[in-house]
Symmetry: C2
């Protein structure tokens, strides 16, 4: 009987702030980071990888939360957790003392998500399938049992979940073939970071169109005159037919969000993303009513399925941007996908960061093949950063994510990257400190340049 | 120029699970704990104390979050932080990397609350006043500037906050005198823990009435037959005129909450507390519409002011139960009190745990003296646990909290308690481990017995 024998954790940080990659109105200098976890087993070749994404300081707090889950993980039998990954999800979210730290939100819930995603990575590797295919080929009743429907009974009874999943399987073979042929649509945020010059923005926006993307995204919200200038430049660069989404990253209060979005309306933005606090469901609903036909998109900071339920109940969003590593992992995201499918709301997952593209592509592809059955008005965010650190990086061609074929959740980081960027003792950070101590120029290694 | 010179942190845990004190339907075995922080200064006799409350496992994660705030605290000038504690609050919540861990929720936000409350403790000590008096005597404009009104502009513009605070000051002297004479109303949860026998429940309920309490609270939600039996016993013990609140601690989904509460209606419960997920604003509203005249109370797990805003906008609650240590400290709770005062919703703060009674009494007393001006339908929760570990413990007489007179926020734990219950190396835990290793009975020291 093979078991989980150890849980390894790593504090991994990349010095992205030095190039202003990832800069937005609320996060001017992120150092993209991962609180990374490996499930070791006594079965040769079997392991599971997962991580929470953070943006630098505090990643050690996230690692402490991963460590707090270790006693719940070590010793579990692989046969049990592969047959029912939900047992791990339920045990971790139900820990009667740990749950006080959330409940089901923030640091402790992201830790649960990392561990649960590692279990799914392990299960998919052991099944010899990429996760999207494992999910798409699983029985609807089993998937409905994996989905966390607690607190959702008022809008999504279990019978309705099973019904949606059964309906989603019709013609799944045809959609699998289409997915393997053309991939899943992507949009790109690489041109639009707030810290980039207009010249760089224009150059990257043109390249995005040349590369086959039909949607790009710009960060906004720090200064209205700047936003007007940048959006004008972007529109000039891409022409009238490419969608330009804008993203305020929570910068505004409700009235500001309405006024600012209206002031940018002449450039026909496709959606306004996170116009205000991600917790403000009723605020999002007020913004949506006021800025139509500009759509409202949100969800990357939705802490759990209960917030998503209400965003849909309140008519607060047009587009749901689930995140693979913010909530409690695959089991909770199955519920999120079911909520969206039930309402017919398109899901355009949040990605970027470290490894988020690698994860969310599986959820979107499962949704297309075996749940919503559609890619209409759907696209997975793509950012051209840090993929080189993964053993199974995403592959983008013609503005589409190619379907992963390697077994697992694409969650595994290369051992040499773990060794180099481990904080504070990895080679990069040790050399960086030594350089500073010597008074020399800091190491501005361009790990993530996209231009 | 005196400054903060060091930030000490402590992982303090009390073995409360061994007596089932604090047991409820979701938390059967809490070990009441504090992630405790001390601001040391270079000014003789000046220091600040604060803490986050947790219930055991994971307290080390909370301490890691306190440690992550240290660079933002050390070196600050005491004159600056006493003149404007909000500078610390704003710096901590605005940290562009740490905020990703919330934003403004869960572990990182509770850490901010602990640090901010320690700053207010220090400021009140330095002013030689208990915190309630410092707040009640502060200029309305200054208080409004201290309140965090971000994301609240749609319901509470700053001018309205100033107006409420100015109106609250009328006749404040008369209310101060009344407060010093009679104290602030309390209700008690001590009889009602889920793990207690009916005999113990009955005995403690009778004692509560004899002690002058006019409201008690019972935990419910694990088993309906048990709840009916326990509520019948409680009603028999206290008679028809004492309010009995019931608390489901998030156990139910919306329909269950409605059905279960209706099934207990014959015992005339005063309020049903946390009937469902604390994140489910619209769910609370649905429950409230269905169970009237039983009131709906919630708020101890409201992660921040944005959730409180929506609970009030949606008509989701009759009673707001703010918590002193769940949100970002005094600056955010000033906003919460203003939101409630603006809507005329009574605030009955959550307390119990470790030191929560000590903290919230100050907020409630300030609200009475200088904001809402009323104690009608208001009472602070009281639980007779762990007060002996504080240097300025609450004093209860005749079912009322006596107004604290010692300078500060009553947040300071006794040094010998810190030494004894520090986890895992304090005397209690070291002895406990040694006892277990020796195969003997574990130390069931009755630190918290109330009967």
């Amino acid at each position: 009987m093979s078991r989980i024998t150890a849980v390894e954790t790593h504090d991994i940080r990349f010095p992205t702030s030095r190039e202003l990659d990832g800069s937005d109105a609320m996060h001017p200098d992120p150092d993209y980071s991962a609180a990374y976890l490996v499930l070791r087993t006594d079965e040769a070749g079997t392991e599971g990888h997962g991580f929470a994404f953070t943006i630098g300081r505090g990643n050690e707090v996230q690692v402490a939360a991963l460590n707090a889950l270790r006693p719940q993980l070590v010793g579990r039998r692989l046969d049990d957790i592969c047959a029912d990954p939900g047992t791990v999800y339920r045990a971790l979210t139900a820990d009667s003392q740990l749950r006080w730290l959330g409940p089901e939100k923030g640091v402790i819930h992201m830790a649960v998500g990392a561990a649960v995603n590692a279990v799914w990575d392990l299960a998919a590797r052991r099944a010899g399938k990429p996760l999207w295919r494992l999910l798409a080929e699983a029985p609807p009743e089993w998937l409905a049992a994996q989905a966390d429907l607690r607190y959702l009974e008022d809008v999504l009874p279990r019978e309705r979940a099973v019904e949606l999943l059964r309906a989603g399987r019709r013609d799944a073979g045809r959609r699998t073939a289409a997915l393997l042929r053309t991939g899943y649509p992507a949009y790109t945020t690489s041109p639009g970071w707030l810290g980039y010059s207009d010249e760089r923005l224009t150059r990257l926006a043109r390249r995005a169109v040349a590369d086959g993307f039909t949607q790009i995204k710009l960060k906004v919200g720090a200064d209205l005159a700047d936003d007007i200038r940048r959006l004008r430049a972007a529109r000039a660069a891409v022409g009238p037919d490419i969608r330009i989404a804008i993203d305020a990253n929570q910068r505004w209060h409700v009235r500001q969000a309405i006024e600012w979005t209206r002031a940018l309306a002449e450039f026909a933005p496709y959606w306004i993303e996170e116009p205000t606090s991600p917790d403000d469901i009723l605020g999002h609903a007020a913004v949506r009513r006021a800025v139509a036909p500009v759509k409202v998109a949100s969800g990357e900071h939705a802490q759990n399925r209960v917030i998503v339920k209400q965003l849909l109940q309140a008519g607060a969003i047009d587009v749901l941007q689930l995140d693979a590593a913010r909530v409690g992992g695959v089991n909770e995201n199955l519920a999120v996908l079911l909520l969206a499918a039930d309402r017919g709301i398109p899901v355009c997952p949040h990605a970027g960061g470290v490894g988020l593209c690698e994860l969310v592509q599986h959820l979107a592809m499962f949704d297309y093949v075996a749940l919503s059955g559609s890619t209409r008005d759907r696209a997975v965010e793509y950012v051209d950063h840090l993929h080189e650190h993964f053993t199974d990086p995403v592959r983008i061609t013609g503005g589409h994510y190619a379907a992963p074929s390697a077994p697992g959740f694409s969650a595994r980081m290369r051992p040499e990257s773990l060794a180099r960027y481990r904080y504070p003792d990895g080679e990069f950070w040790a050399a960086d400190r030594a350089g500073r101590a010597a008074g020399g120029r800091r190491d501005t290694e361009r790990t993530v340049e996209t231009a």
